[in-house]
Amino acid sequence: AQSVSQHNHHVILSEAASLELGCNYSYGGTVNLFWYVQYPGQHLQLLLKYFSGDPLVKGIKGFEAEFIKSKFSFNLRKPSVQWSDTAEYFCAVNVDNQGGKLIFGQGTELSVKP
């Protein structure tokens, strides 16, 4: 069965530090990849998505992610985090034979210290 793995359960950073959150998936076919953010007590919001083309994807709020097909990875990065980036981050995958279904990773809690 397809699965998504996020390596870091909880990441604590100081403001202005660089961020990289790992995401790996297990599926050999075509995938669409997503990063969602969930601020405390709120719904999920789309940060960025990859379907095809340039493997380096830029999203909102200065986030970017790189799809490395050979590593089945889609890591999220931000050069300089802010306190307002404190949230839960979810990687998700949609596989080509399952319509609109999203398979989520376990989530990574990011805490940014001011």
Partner: protein
């Protein structure tokens, strides 16, 4: 106007009760979903409806029954609630089932607590 709205936002109920959560979207989307987020924040799809037709039904207990009276509404009814049903339930919608992930919009969630 909220694009995907869920009611209620919070729901506290006793074991054994029956409860419903309602979801409405005003985006004109064809496809709607229910996702469950457990206490460890793990999100998993439960159901998907495309234009009132059930498309995805994951391994969810029969106590959970979705109902879609029209493509703008997808309700979730839960019978004989158990402690393990405590979670946040998210409704979502997308334009077309075949191309759905491109346009997912999530609701704000319903936090269900079973005591």
């Amino acid at each position: 106007d909220t694009a995907v709205s869920q009611t209620p936002k919070y729901l506290v109920t006793q074991m054994g009760n029956d409860k419903s959560i309602k979801c409405e979207q005003n985006l004109g989307h064809d496809t709607m979903y229910w996702y469950k987020q457990d206490s460890k924040k793990f999100l998993k799809i439960m159901f998907s409806y495309n234009n009132k037709e059930l498309i995805i039904n994951e391994t969810v207990p029969n106590r959970f029954s979705p109902k879609s009276p029209d493509k703008a509404h997808l309700n979730l009814h839960i019978n004989s609630l158990e402690l393990g049903d405590s979670a946040v339930y998210f409704c979502a919608s997308s334009p077309y089932f075949s191309d759905s992930p491109r346009g997912y919009t999530f609701g704000s969630g319903t936090r269900l607590t079973v005591v």
